[in-house]
């Protein structure tokens, strides 16, 4: 088998992966880059992001303010040096994307327009109607095509990182079309594989978000940081989990319980203004509070019996009718379209049923401010990584910008590492893969007459996650979850695979993805169980207060033979000492 060798090997062709690839190609055209992705890059999940990307651009805004919002929004768990670097580089990256052709919405004078977003005190979210992620991803993908040093391996599923001599030097993957196992060597490797929302039953995340990169790093001995912090978005559609963008509230939409009351006022999120008041919606207040707090408010409303019930679960109402047809069509057309299609509600006339759904993972592969992990030669960026700029709760529209800022940083870091470490042990890598390839081959040719179906284990896993590590957690439920996960780890060895074909075997892919999901779920559950406080998106009924004395720290989960080992790491504090999170005042 001939093994191609690249300077920088990138796993993932979403926003982060493509930004990294372009960064390397632009900085030094002699370096060869590979982008390996399990789907065509433009199918990556970044495509679904709607609302926008944050970056300070207008005169009334400042870096200080963006830092403030981000750090407070993250309940002081974000690394402040990283946040400062992020905020500083954000506008540059967004302008770079503008130069590459991203169709940002504009003001009459031709400058870019910004919109309000939850948890941000000042309007700073750049947007391309309500399809921002789609436009960013297609712009990046189309731009990346012009760089000859970039080779794409589309529809290649990476199932293993190859580590030799204490350095990550490549990956093993399956070419889906042929079923061949391939080794691709890289002087440095960047993981840009996105999040893992699919470990929960109700999620806005696409089918491909199965936490693969987290699993890959975890198995290679790299820690997963702050995994207990899982963001629920307050407005998903019941049933499918499809997202109704925060822009609906940014434009003035309101949340009502079953009695028609704007219940957020009862949960310390400020007092409501009339929708006809020109000051509505108020930034950082009521409906424009942060996502964790809004989702938590739903939980308490449900406890109090104030929500609607249905076969697809409980829900409340998101009302935008007062905006009128014209504004709805102009500013949030995709919302109208989506609600009409998937729940049969025309939001011009009726409120939309919504419920909190899992949306984003703040945690991920532990990296430093330059996207480097603890394993030499391995970098990570995007949602699969945790730098951390999001702390205990991400603010909407910080993530798309994060892909760019840290995608680029990862690219530059990895390129420099490749220059300093030119040698690759190709033969040793090939030898490593032998066993695994043999195992996969036998799966193709013989299948496996196991007991457990992929769908049934997946269902057990996701429903256990919802019950045990949902919006509110406590020790008893977390212990039960950890126990279920131990059982699943035993059962998964006996997974049934009926597809014997080598060509585009999606069942095999599902099986491998399920194994990654179990890794990610385990890190979430055990980290949550160990964090005995409430902070941001991690809320415990048995430890209701934030405990800075014991837990102003990042958790880091390491794989071990039995349960994972949880370590802690200090948070970097520069200018913003921990304070109380205040909204609506």
């Amino acid at each position: 088998m001939s093994i191609p060798v690249y300077d920088v090997l990138i796993v993932g062709g979403g926003g982060a992966g493509l930004r990294a690839a372009i960064a390397v190609a632009q900085a030094d055209p002699t370096q060869r880059v590979a982008v390996v992705s399990k789907v065509y890059p433009m199918r990556s999940h970044t495509v679904s992001a709607e609302g926008g990307a944050a970056g300070v651009i207008k005169d009334n805004d400042s870096a200080e303010d963006h830092c403030n919002d981000t750090i407070g929004g993250g309940d002081w768990l974000a690394d402040q040096d990283a946040v400062e670097a992020f905020v500083e580089e954000a506008p540059k990256e967004l302008i770079q994307l503008e130069h590459w052709g991203c169709p940002w919405n504009r003001e009459a004078d031709g400058s870019v327009a910004v919109r309000p977003f939850g948890g941000m005190k000042i309007q700073r979210t750049w947007f391309a109607s309500d399809k921002t992620g789609f436009h960013m991803l297609h712009t990046l993908f189309q731009t990346s095509q012009q760089f000859d040093p970039v080779t794409r391996y589309d529809e290649h599923f990476v199932f293993d990182l190859l580590v030799h001599d204490g350095r990550c030097q490549g990956v093993a993957c399956i070419e889906l079309k042929t079923g061949e196992v391939r080794i691709i060597a890289g002087r440095s490797v960047i993981l840009c594989t996105g999040g893992g929302g699919r470990i929960f039953p109700f999620t806005t995340n696409a089918a491909i978000k199965t936490g693969d990169g987290m699993g890959l790093a975890y198995r290679a001995g790299v820690g997963l940081k702050d995994m207990e912090f899982v963001q629920y978005h307050p407005t998903g559609l019941p049933g499918t989990g499809i997202l109704i963008t925060e822009a609906a509230r940014g434009e003035g939409g309101i949340l009502l319980n079953k009695d028609g009351r704007r219940y957020l006022q009862d949960h310390d999120l400020g007092s409501p203004l009339e929708v006809s008041d020109p000051r509505h919606p108020q930034l950082k207040s009521m409906e424009l509070g942060p996502r964790d707090r809004l989702s938590q408010a739903f939980y308490w409303e449900r406890e109090a019996g104030n929500v609607f019930t249905s076969d697809d679960g409980d829900y409340v109402h998101l009302d935008v009718t007062h905006l009128g047809e014209k504004k709805i069509n102009k500013r949030i057309p995709f919302v109208r379209d989506t609600a009409l299609k998937y729940v049969g509600v025309d939001c011009v006339k009726e409120p939309i049923p919504v419920r909190p759904v899992v949306h984003y993972m703040m945690g991920g592969v532990d990296t430093d401010i330059d996207a480097a992990t603890s394993l030499p030669g391995l970098y990570a960026a995007g949602e699969c990584a945790c730098v951390s700029i999001n702390g205990a709760n991400r603010l909407g529209s910080n993530s798309l910008t994060e892909l760019l800022v840290f995608g680029k940083r990862a690219g530059m870091g990895a390129a420099a590492f490749a220059k300093a470490n030119p040698e690759v042990a190709v033969d040793a890598l090939a030898a490593q893969v032998g066993d695994k390839a043999a195992r996969l081959k036998s799966l193709y040719s013989e299948g496996r007459e196991g007991e457990a179906s992929i769908a049934s284990i997946r269902r057990t896993l996701t429903s256990a996650m919802e019950t045990g590590a949902g919006i509110y957690r406590d020790q008893a439920r977390l212990d039960a979850l950890c126990e279920t996960l131990r059982e699943i780890k035993a059962r998964i060895k006996d997974l049934r695979i009926t597809d014997r074909s080598k060509t585009f075997n999606t069942q095999l892919v599902q099986a491998l993805e399920l194994e990654f999901m179990v890794d990610a779920a385990e890190a979430v559950a055990f980290s949550a169980s160990a964090r005995k406080e409430s902070r941001g998106a991690h809320q415990r009924l048995d430890f209701k207060e934030r405990d800075d004395g014991a837990f102003l720290k990042h958790s880091v989960a390491f794989k071990s033979d039995g349960d994972p080992r949880i370590d802690y790491k200090d948070v970097s504090i520069t200018k913003w000492p921990p304070a109380e999170r205040v909204y609506g005042k």
């Binding site: 789907v39 065509y40 433009m42 199918r43 990556s44 999940h45 495509v47 679904s48 540059k92 302008i95 770079q96 503008e98 130069h99 590459w100 052709g101 169709p103 940002w104 919405n105 504009r106 009459a108 004078d109 031709g110 400058s111 870019v112 399809k131 789609f134 436009h135 297609h138 189309q142 731009t143 095509q145 012009q146 589309d154 079309k177 696409a206 089918a207 491909i208 049933g239 499918t240 499809i242 997202l243 989506t338 998937y342 729940v343 049969g344 179906s453 992929i454 769908a455 049934r496 695979i497 009926t498 597809d499 014997r500 074909s501 080598k502 060509t503 585009f504 075997n505 999606t506 069942q507």
Partner: protein
């Protein structure tokens, strides 16, 4: 052949699905499945149900299930559709026939081979070649909402390939660049920031380009995102003609 072993309660609907497994078959076949009928299910939900509950070997692409990633295009009763955006209720109680997108080679079951399109995009230089290069420090290019409107509609393409399946010209001769690729090329040529219009025009105005189009118009009808590729192509023809006239009448006017 295959029918579901699982007993289904309540209403059901029949899906007849194109199967092709190149590892052990040289010809395709059709399998019939009974699936539960649910008012709020899209066709993709039914296909996922089959994969989870009846036949795990059924292969197809999907991801976002919200009509934006462009993965899940298939022929539903002979029409190219995004299966995550059409509902069982649109067809019920008639049986449905699900096939891979027409005019593309079939890799397996409902999975088509779209390498051809990926190559065409690159040929058309679907990226900005700056007219007046600018540094980051100089800030953004100014582009008025009106200038944005010139090309915005053409940026909405999700590369789902439905238009290629609706295009007989492409079906008969796949060297035709086709609706989506030509539209994306035009998208960049219309952008106020771009300066490679003339280079792209060579290909757009060539035999593989707009002049192969006989204006059947079906591409625009099936497009799930209202991109109107047929419009982009016709406008491309008009522009090509005007440019040709100009260069004939005023040879000094163009380089």
């Amino acid at each position: 052949m295959a029918s579901s072993a699982t007993k289904i309660e309540g209403k059901t609907v029949t899906l007849e699905i194109f199967r092709y497994q190149p590892d052990d078959e040289t010809e395709p076949r059709y399998d019939t499945f009974e699936v539960p009928y649910r008012e709020d299910w899209v066709v993709l939900d039914a296909i996922n149900w089959i994969k989870d509950e009846v036949d795990g070997s059924l292969s197809y692409r999907w991801s976002c299930r919200m009509g934006v990633c462009g993965s899940c295009g298939m022929m539903v009763n002979g029409e190219p559709k995004l299966t995550c955006a059409v509902f069982l209720r649109d067809y019920y109680p008639k049986p449905m026939r699900i096939e891979p997108l027409e005019h593309f080679p079939v890799t397996r079951d409902l999975v088509i081979n779209m390498d051809d399109f990926m190559g065409k995009m690159e040929k058309l230089q679907t990226w900005i070649v700056p007219k007046e290069p600018r540094t980051i420090e100089e800030g953004e290019y100014r582009q008025t909402p009106r200038q944005l409107a010139d090309y915005k509609q053409y940026t909405m393409c999700i590369n789902c390939m439905l238009c290629y399946s609706a295009c007989p010209v492409y079906g008969l001769d796949s060297s035709f660049l086709g609706p989506a690729a030509l539209t994306l090329g035009r998208r960049y040529s219309l952008d106020s920031r771009d300066g490679a219009k003339d280079e792209r025009a060579e290909l757009i105005q060539s035999d593989e380009g707009v002049w192969s189009c006989t204006f059947v118009g079906e591409c625009s009808r099936v497009c799930p995102k209202n991109v109107d590729p047929a419009g982009a192509i016709q406008a491309g023809k008009v522009e090509g003609t005007v440019d040709m006239m100009k260069s004939m009448l005023m040879p000094w006017g163009r380089k």
